[in-house]
Symmetry: C2
Subunit: 183 residues, 2 copies
Amino acid sequence: MPRVGLSTAQVVSTASALIDEVGVDKLTLARIAKHLNVQLPSLYKHISSLQDLHERLVVAAQHELLGTMKNAAVGRSGMQALLALAASAREWGVAHPGRYSITLAAAHTPGDGSEEMLEFTLRILESFNLTGDDAIDAARMLRATLHGFISLETRGGFGLPADVDRSFQRAMQGLGNQFSAWS
Amino acid sequence: MPRVGLSTAQVVSTASALIDEVGVDKLTLARIAKHLNVQLPSLYKHISSLQDLHERLVVAAQHELLGTMKNAAVGRSGMQALLALAASAREWGVAHPGRYSITLAAAHTPGDGSEEMLEFTLRILESFNLTGDDAIDAARMLRATLHGFISLETRGGFGLPADVDRSFQRAMQGLGNQFSAWS
DNA sequence: GCCCTAATGCTAATACTATTAGCTTTTAAT
DNA sequence: ATTAAAAGCTAATAGTATTAGCATTAGGGC
């Protein structure tokens, strides 16, 4: 039996691809194993349990999303940064609905990207001259609006197909205007 | 064996309670059956499958949430209606995290509450003098912000406990202000 | 080049899950 | 009272995650 040379990273990677295809609730070890041409129990040499795999998926997805947003925001500030980061997050979420759906992990697992996300968001808001409690309020509103929009879109919550792009653009523009005038 | 007098409504009801306690992913037919003092296969006399039960749970949760919001908005308009509906939705979501988490169903199942939700939202926005495409954009932004906020809160997305009430109030107030000045 | 060790992938077994079939008993309507 | 439908049961099946134990392979030190 020729050894295939598996690794934890490979298992996480194919699992990530699978949840985008079949949905996170239909991710099964058998499916992953078949994709990797391996027997199911062999996966346990690289992950300790399904929950372990889930946690790894969450952390990976969070960092992918965060990296995408940071990339989009580099070299920009204020409204330009906000619009760029928002568009990139939405684009990534739509392209990877399964991965996106797990970016809000319940428990703070080790390696969690939520603190980094908060720092990043606050940094962006600094360019709106927002600090302290004002910045926290703004960060929460930004994250809520962005996450809510992407969630609704990827889960088919927008019944009418009426120009979702325009609705998104308008929402983010409005958000930025508010931040600019945040007394 | 004394018959216990089960019904579909009872099964859905206890399942609803259970997903708030243990989480929707840990809802199991065995758990429901034990709660109802019944053997597991007996449930199939009232539901046709686990997926069937899930669809019923979604519809029930959607209507509970919608009813709560409508109740809060009755007799109010404009900003007052918005703040009341938003607060009631958040309160219900925090009190019923499992139920809330399924209110965004992927497929439009029969009896779905999403159309009714859209009509309700548009009615509220009429009192902001918003109609047509403007109203659709506003409805999407309202739903996104509200859903995003409740999702983040119920899933522990707000690391800092710094006065979430105030952040919410401020977000909703800002939303209403935008709707009032929506050119 | 060889040997030992650790890691890799396997088969087999276990305890859970949902689901179906078939039976018995109860309920309710005629 | 009789009958027919429905309710709940036990038993069986296929699929799930997980563990134990075995064989083989790969790599490092001599």
